[in-house]
Structures are given as structure tokens and as C-alpha cells.
Subunit: 421 residues, 2 copies
């Protein structure tokens, strides 16, 4: 790949691979590559615009065993994997016949992103954010977060030898605090809710030129990392697109990038551009996009989240309208499920496939079940479910429902009796 | 690979790939392949004996992206990956320059087995045990366990659609109970300590012909799974052996199989048979092998474990004498570290490489540090550390030591003050 120089307002140049500019998703206004996230003309969200070189399947297959095999399709330099990073991705695409039988789907796959370095898909987006931030001249990696993102940022910064600043609400569960604090960055608990923490991050991002808040001032680059989920699914299926995919919706960014990834693969001739349908999954306790979809609206009214699926609990999802676009354009849908169904979804996936997902994964499985039962998802089409995080991180969600079948004295007879022999 | 038929005492035949017999490690007596684990002649432990076909690097490289790429070197049929299983292995070998700088080792790698399906190396041995058990005619997968093995057995059985029976001490921590119970097998808490549970498992294994206790009656097959750690290290280094490797010691089986794996690769011409040194790592609170090594003994006196490294807390390690053999033959050593050092080891690895290990990983890192400080490990030789399990499973070990740097009100000024700006 050729190195690229893009002029910026400061007159410096960056090697961000095939990335050529930032483009407003609302008005199309373009600006040079920079650490910007909102359009100066209309305040719409900025997205990376590319000029791709020739990308061949065999070059990807011969590439690194991580998301960096797709570096020619990401806003990162071609030598990205020579810098210390967590090398996420290339997680398993699991054939799920037993779950398929339980759901009545003939041809089902689970993309199991619990295998990432900190056990969620956030390692993908953070790795891309770190690579772009390095090029853009930042020296500190930062984020506001309630969990998975905090883990991923703290770990990625530690691995790279960068400082990190991670802001969390002071009420966060102990397990999520520990799994971030262990990496020994600057973890600060903020007295306030997640909205307060988020506002604080935006303020700090504007005041500290060397702090890259991955999901704020470098968000356009960060978000592109989710495309790798689509790339991997297509490559792992043997270079073709699935008929249907079910994606959990928090901010909505992931779903729109999965759709973008499939489209790019088709446009670049890496796969046949066959039709695919994208479905969004939400918890009923935070289902603003599902509500908008069902009401036939183009705008998403904010809600106050109340669900055990805390990693999806974004009441005002920034990419909600784009989720509605993608879902409607591809013939998909958005559906939501109760917390009770979320727990049943976690248990169903664990029981049938031996994969223990966090609550967001329960949302995906339970939503798939509901979509089938309501006739929205075609049980005869090849279907992929995205499992984006690990059950070890949300043990409390299932703690009340599961446990040993029995407690017995240490005798073989007692074991047999307990098992009903 | 040619299918193999081995006659058994019952007159049936099994396809266990290149496996030809079970051989006593003490007296060399051989018996046909069967579900046996102790020599009828001398009560010594039985081990799988092979007749390997031609194994080529390119065939391995073109194989599955899991331990099954080495199926020609394991006691499993050649179609092993066509049966539903968790497909473990091919975890990351991470270049660890920052940890190396902290330890004073020039050329350091971490084999990060936290990326396995249930986040420990136990997925490897259980997958091999399941594959062999299927061939041997078992229908139930079982184990006594205090943690990682319980997770791995319950998940593997769920994925395969097998029944599982997992026996745990009733005092086991809530997190380890939950991460096993979620797979919905027959999890039984036993009133007693781990020794009681282990004895109960041996009794049940003799009474239930269709129950494969992975670490009891199919142990010879199960143990072979650890060879894949060595195979992967050698392949990922570019088909060569490291100069030194540090391996945690519980029963000692893993260390002896890593040594076996390196030797096999050399004998088969897959790597140059260059010299390597194997080091064992224990927690001082359960260090019977380290004590024997330091005293120059060939036998290992049992101890009563008292350490936070519970996954290594086996007071009477079955393979202890074979660990001493391997370590002495290769010019390595066995060393042990305090619980305080274990926690520091966990934190050092997390801080420098962004990898959060369970207590066993802390033992490995801290022992490597001590081996260097005492001049036993050569800081100029290429060195690999085995990190065999995930920190999410042993949060309590670090809970008292780490946390947010500060709790602040939601203001940028407060953040800057907390960070010392």
C-alpha cells in the first residue's frame, strides 16, 4: 500500500493508509484527516472517506492473524502491526447447529468475539483508534466508559506503553473497576452518572490536545474498527456474505459499520454482492431504536435506560437514525427483548454451544428467537449472530438463576441419587 | 493419515489417529489403547505411545486454526474437527518487549492462553479428552475440579451435546460455580475438600462405564493436549524452539508435555532440535516440586496447599518426579514465589503488556523474575512464559490492591488535580 499524506489545518501530514478525508454523513462536506468528529457546517457526524487500492483475497489471507489483515481497508498506516498493540480479531466463527435446532434456524453461525484480548469487540475499535491516534500525534489514550471500553483502553495503552485516562461513574460494579485498574493507568471514578462522565470527557478532549478520547475526538477512526467484524464473517464463511445478521444496538455504530463492511467487500469484488438483511437487537429497557423502527419513524427519541444489559444502555444512541436506514434498506428489522428473555438467551447459548456471553449476547440470541417467532427472520436463510462480549464480565445477571443441581455428601450413592439414577 | 485399529481387551477397535498403545512410564509395559490410566504391572502412570506418519510443516499450516492442526500428533481420529467441539488453541504468542525490559530479558515472549474458549489452557486437554472419549465409547464427560477444568468440561460437553457431570467442593467461590453452572450440565457440590472430591471421582469412574472423567480414567489422552502449547510456540516462533520456557506446575503434567512436544518436533524434523531449558514455577504455599528440586531429591513429598494460586494448589503432584527429570535433563530449574510476589507478577504483566492473567500467570511471571535475579535463567536467551488462565477468574487475588486512583466530582479541574497537573 502506498503511504498517504493528507494536509491538515495545522499543516502536518498523516499516514492513515487508504483514508483520504473526513466526510459529513449528513451534508457530505469533506475536511482533511484530523481529530474532528462533528461537521463544522451542519454538526453532523464525520466518517472516514477512503480511496482503496487493489485488495486481493490472497493478500488478506497471507496477512497478520488479527484485524490487521484488513489494514488496507482501515484508517491506519500499512506498518500498523509493527507497533505494540493488542492485535485483536480473527475470533472464531462457530457453526451453531444445536442453537440452530433450538431456534428453528437451519443454517446458523455465531461470531464469538469473547476471544478478543479483553474479551469484547471493543479491542477492535480501540486498536484502530490507537493506531490513528498515534499518527494524529496524540500521546494519551482516554475514554469515558461503563465497562468493556474501559478494559480495552486500559489494556491497549499498557501494551503500547502509553498513558491512559479512563473515566467511570463511581457507582460502577467492582468487577469492572478491577479489570480496568489492573492495567495501572489513570482510572478515575467520577461522582455522577454515565451522561455526566461523557460530558466531562468531551470537555477534557477540547482542553487537552494530546488526549485521544477514543469514542469522542477520534471517534470517526475508532468506529471503523467494527467493520472488521463483517470482514471476518465474510472471509470465514469462505468469501461470501450471509443472508442475515443480528447485531446488538447500543450507540448503533457497530450495526452501521457491519453493513458498511459487507458493502465494501462487495464493491471491491472480494465477495459476490449478494443481498443480506441486517437486524438490530435491543433490550426493552433501553430500546429507543426498536421503538422508532416499530413506529415507522426516522428519528430516535431518547429514553432513560433500565436494563441489565448495561453495555447496551445508551438512551440517546448517536447512530440510531443510521441504524434505521441500514435495517430498512436491507429488509431487516429492529426488535427488543425483556431482561428475563436476555437471561434465557445467555443460558440457551451456553447450554447449546458452550459459549458464555455477556448480557449483550443474551440480547442478540433472545432477539433472534423473537424475530423468528414473529416471522421477521427467515429460518431458511443463512444467519449469523454477533456475540460481542463475555459472560465473565456480567456474572450478576445470571447469579440468581443458576447454581449446582445439589449439594451432596462425598459418596457415589449420593451422587447417583442427586442425578436421579 | 491412515485410520488405525487397535484391539482392546473388549475386542473392539478405536480410531485414535497415530496412537498405538498405552505405555507405562515406570516399567515400559504396554497395553492396547483403552480407558486405563495405571499400569497393571507396577501401578505406574500410563502414557500414549505413537507411531507417527510423515508430518510436514505445510500440512500443519494448511490445517484448522486450532489445536486440530496437530491432529497427526495427538490421540484423536483424523476427522476430529468434524465433530462439534470448542476448537481451542492457536492462541497468541505475544512479543513482550516491555515486560522483557522490566525483567531484564532481551528476547521475551508470552504465550497467552487466556484467549481459549473458556479462557484457560484446560480447553486444550478437555478437547483431546472428549475426542478420545468419543472413540472409546463414552457418552458422559466428567471431572472433579476446583475451577478452570470445571468450566472447560461443562462448556465442551454443552457444545458437543453430551451430558456432563462436574464435581466441585461445596466451598468453591461463587464466580467459579456460576461460570460452570451456566452450561447447564450436572454440576454437583460435594461436602468435602478437593481430595474428597477427587477420591469420589475415581470411585464413580470405576462404577460407571460410560462416564469419562477427563483427568481420571481418560487421563493419558487428556494430558497429551498440553503438547499443543509446545507445538504452537515452536510454529509461531517460525518453526524453531525457544532457548528457555517457564511453565507453571500443578500436577506437573503440563510441563512434562511441553518438554515432550518440543522433543517430538525435533525428532520429526519439524524444527532443528536445538537445546532448550524447561523451568517450573510454583507458589511457595504449594511448592513440593520446587522443594524437591532444591533438595536434590527424585521424589516429591506431599504438602498441604496454602496459596492464592488455587489452580496450582495440588499438594501431591502426580507428575512431580517427571518434572524433576525434565528440568534436570534440560538444564532448567524449579523455583517458587510468595503470594505477595504472585500478585506483583499479575500486576507487572498487566501494566507492561495489557494481559490480565489469573494467579497461575502471576506465579509464572514472578518466578521468571526470581530466576533471573538468582542467575538461574539466562537473560540473553530467547525465553517464553506460559500464561495459562485469565485474571477475570481470580479477581479476588488482586481486589485489595487495586482500584481507581481517585474519586472526583464531574469537573475538568478536579480531573487535572487528581492527575497532578
Amino acid at each position: 500500500m502506498t503511504a498517504v499524506s493528507a494536509p491538515t489545518s495545522a499543516g502536518t501530514s498523516f499516514d492513515l493508509g487508504p483514508a483520504r478525508a473526513l466526510s459529513c454523513r449528513e451534508c457530505g462536506h469533506q475536511i482533511p484527516l484530523a481529530a474532528e468528529f462533528a461537521c463544522a457546517e451542519c454538526f453532523g457526524p464525520l466518517e472516514v472517506a477512503y480511496e482503496f487500492g487493489k485488495i486481493r483475497r490472497e493478500d488478506i489471507e497471507a496477512g497478520p492473524k488479527s484485524i490487521w489483515r484488513y489494514r488496507g481497508l482501515l484508517p491506519v498506516p500499512s506498518d500498523v502491526d509493527s507497533h505494540p498493540n493488542t492485535d485483536p480479531g480473527l475470533t472464531r466463527l462457530v457453526r451453531a447447529d444445536r442453537l440452530g435446532a433450538a431456534l428453528g434456524v437451519k443454517n446458523l453461525w455465531v461470531k464469538d468475539d469473547t476471544g478478543n484480548p479483553t474479551h469484547s469487540f471493543k479491542d477492535r475499535v480501540v486498536a484502530v483508534a490507537l493506531a490513528a491516534a498515534r499518527q494524529l500525534g496524540f500521546t494519551v489514550l482516554a475514554c469515558p466508559s461503563t465497562g468493556n471500553l474501559a478494559n480495552a483502553v486500559a489494556a491497549a495503552a499498557a501494551r503500547a506503553g502509553w498513558q491512559s485516562v479512563v473515566l467511570i461513574p463511581s457507582s460502577l460494579e467492582r468487577a469492572k473497576v478491577l479489570t480496568t485498574a489492573v492495567y495501572d493507568g489513570a482510572l478515575l471514578a467520577v461522582d455522577g452518572n454515565y451522561d455526566d462522565v461523557n460530558r466531562l470527557a468531551t470537555e477534557l478532549a477540547s482542553e487537552h490536545e494530546d488526549w485521544a478520547f477514543v469514542n469522542v475526538n477520534v471517534r470517526p477512526y475508532y468506529a471503523e474498527g467494527s467493520k472488521t467484524l463483517a470482514y471476518e464473517v465474510a472471509e470465514q464463511l469462505g468469501w461470501r456474505l450471509p443472508g442475515q445478521i443480528v447485531v446488538p444496538v447500543a450507540s448503533g455504530s457497530q450495526l452501521t459499520k457491519v453493513d458498511k463492511g459487507f458493502r465494501e467487500f462487495g464493491e471491491l469484488g472480494l465477495v459476490e454482492p449478494t443481498p443480506y438483511r441486517v437486524f438490530g437487537a435491543q433490550a426493552t429497557g433501553c430500546s429507543p431504536v426498536s421503538a422508532a423502527y416499530k413506529s415507522g419513524l426516522d428519528v430516535v427519541a431518547p429514553v432513560r435506560p433500565d436494563t441489565i444489559a448495561r453495555s447496551l444502555a445508551i438512551g440517546a444512541p448517536a447512530d440510531g437514525p443510521y441504524v434505521l436506514d441500514a435495517v430498512r434498506r436491507t429488509g431487516g428489522a429492529v426488535e427488543d427483548v425483556t431482561d428475563e428473555e436476555v437471561v434465557e438467551g445467555i443460558r440457551l447459548l451456553a447450554r447449546t454451544e458452550g459459549i458464555f456471553a455477556e448480557t449483550a449476547g443474551g440480547v442478540t440470541v433472545a432477539t433472534a428467537k423473537k424475530l423468528i417467532e414473529t416471522g421477521q427472520l427467515d429460518p431458511d436463510a443463512e444467519t449469523v449472530l454477533l456475540i460481542t462480549g463475555d459472560g465473565l464480565k456480567t456474572l450478576d445477571a445470571v447469579a440468581d438463576r443458576i447454581g449446582p443441581k445439589a449439594t451432596v455428601p462425598p459418596s457415589a450413592k449420593a451422587v447417583r441419587e442427586a442425578l436421579g439414577f
